[in-house]
Amino acid sequence: MKRLIIRKKSRKNFITYGIVLVAYIALMAVVSAGAMPSALQGLLVPMCAYIIAALSLNLTVGVLGELSLGHAGFMSVGAFTGCTAAMALADSGLPVWGRMIVAVVVGSLLAAAAGVIVGVPVLRLQGDYLAIVTLAFGEIIKTVVTNLYIGIDPNGLRFGFLKPDIGLGKGGRMIVNGPNGISGITKISSLTAGFIIIMLCLVIIFNLVDSHSGRAIMALRDNRIAAESVGINATKYKLMAFVISAAMAGAAGALYALSQNTVTANKFDFNTSILILVFVVLGGLGNMLGSIVAATVLYILPETWLRQFSDYRMLIYAVVLILMMLITNSSKVRMLLAKLLPHKKSAEKEGEADA
């Protein structure tokens, strides 16, 4: 049963900001006290990157209502361009945070550009056809990046496609090395950077949703024909949501890449797109806090708690995923569970499907 009355969004938004802030402070306290296991510490920044990716995909799937199966492609664009920018500026004397900002900004802008290139044709299609074309674009981006060579020498950046020989001058070095991706990355991203980007994304999404543009986007989701009849330009607002979403994914990619030693194009394949989609769907469409929680739990779970099951962990992960979908979506399964666990109140959860 959907809620009859829609409460003011602002309160829920502030709760989300609050939870993220408290989580950040708590994590920083644990890290600075040295109480964080090193295995877990290395997961914090990628976790932030996945949270951002999930938030951005929720804008496309939950708010705009279009299924995208190629979201990792935009992360890839952000990761490779952002990382290239950061590495090209390594000797420029720019402080670490300065390079980080440049990397994230470059990553988002180029991912946004990719968003425009993909969005213009894709958003003319509908439903599953749109989904398959986003998948196709994701694969194309992966192939292009796999065959991309970028190097730097005193004359500036040099690019090559398909052939590794890009004619680097004296003192030049390769940055992006085709199928081997980028290696020897200076890990300049940090939990604080991740936190700031998450907060920025939340502010952008919440403020967008609660403005005339956001309402136009949701109107298109609920009923395109009616939206056009009240004068809403479908292409413009669909593209707006899609491009903002792509830009955020680009930021997530840059953040992620700069927390790793190496990144390759294969890291951002169809499976990654699907992983992010799983976060979004399990967290609830349009529910940003849900995306954050789902991304956190589902990213950390296989790496920590499920470790004890060693070889079986991904199998258990799959079973958990299926069971979660069955429990949250099927009343029959819920009733069955309630019978099996008579002492426990049924795990009924009110679906919060709306932004």
Partner: protein
């Protein structure tokens, strides 16, 4: 000569895609869901055939039969356990469940059969039909193309002429109305999954006869490509899936032969995008128009 060879190879690969795509399309047409676990059923089918032929040393025909049988049962079991409880909910929830099933099958295969590649036996022999000059068509290619054509014709006849086939089409148009007309929705959907999975098993065997390296993720990429092929031809349409599969195979082989091996996949997807922009519901898909 190499052109004709490439063409034959393309049609052969395309036939495998087409058989997978036919399964996708049947399931999509009736359950209105993208069954992402379909590709992994291909892998299971190939493994079963491998163990029966190479492991137990039985005849390939028994291997294929065993693969079809196991996959059919597997398909029905998956449908009953994972998809049936979700029949009334949004397609997105079912999609995620299908992804869960896909993870499950891949990881179960990894545990059972390890990730060491197995080399699939040449079950159709290594010979071929001599066509003059240096042009030979291997038996496996002939079998693949023949199987694909037979399957497509059989499916068209089945859905068009038989009672059960008509019930399937009725279900795909409107489940509620079909139910009111006395059609058993549950058994019809189960049957569709059974047919789709049996096709996947056959496709798995044919795929591995052509590309013998067998690992737990063998089915993933062909699964995605066949899904692309189904959309290419117009998802829900049986001739569309056939046409889409063949075209995809030919485009893939030609682009890797004449343009670039590295970019072959990208070119395949690029062609798909262009086709969908010109024909937004695929080559043979029904035009969707919303009544205002």
């Amino acid at each position: 000569m190499s052109f004709i060879n490439n063409l034959i190879n393309g049609i052969s690969l395309g036939s495998v895609y087409a058989i997978i795509a036919l399964g996708y399309t049947m399931v999509y047409g009736i359950a209105k869901m993208l069954n992402f676990a379909h590709g992994d059923i291909i892998m299971v089918g190939a493994y079963i055939c491998f163990f029966v032929c190479s492991g137990a040393g039985l005849s390939p025909i028994l291997g294929i039969l065993a693969a079809v049988l196991v996959c059919t049962v597997l398909g029905i079991v998956i449908e009953q356990l994972a998809y049936k409880p979700l029949r009334q909910v949004t397609s997105l929830a079912v999609l995620i469940t299908a992804i869960g099933v896909s993870y499950f099958l891949q990881n179960a295969a990894q545990l059972l059969w390890t990730s060491n590649p197995r080399i699939f036996p040449a079950i159709f022999g290594n010979g071929g039909v001599q066509l003059g000059g240096d042009l030979t068509i291997p038996y496996k290619t002939l079998v693949t193309i023949g199987a694909c054509v037979i399957i497509m014709v059989a499916l068209i006849l089945f859905t068009g002429k038989t009672r059960t086939g008509k019930a399937m089409r009725a279900c795909s148009e409107d489940k509620d109305a079909a139910q009111l007309m006395g059609i058993n929705i549950n058994s019809t959907i189960s049957l569709t999954f059974a047919i789709g999975s049996a096709l996947a098993a056959i496709a798995g065997v044919l795929l591995c006869a052509a590309y013998p390296k067998l690992i737990p993720t063998t089915g993933s990429m062909p699964g995605i490509k066949a899904f692309t092929a189904a959309v290419f031809g117009g998802i829900g349409s049986i001739p569309g899936a056939f046409l889409g599969g063949i075209l995809l195979g030919v485009i893939e082989i030609f682009s890797s032969a004449y343009l670039s091996t590295e970019l072959a996949n990208a070119i395949v997807f690029l062609v798909l995008i262009v086709i969908l922009l010109v024909k937004p519901t695929g080559l043979l898909g029904k035009k969707i128009s919303e009544k205002v």
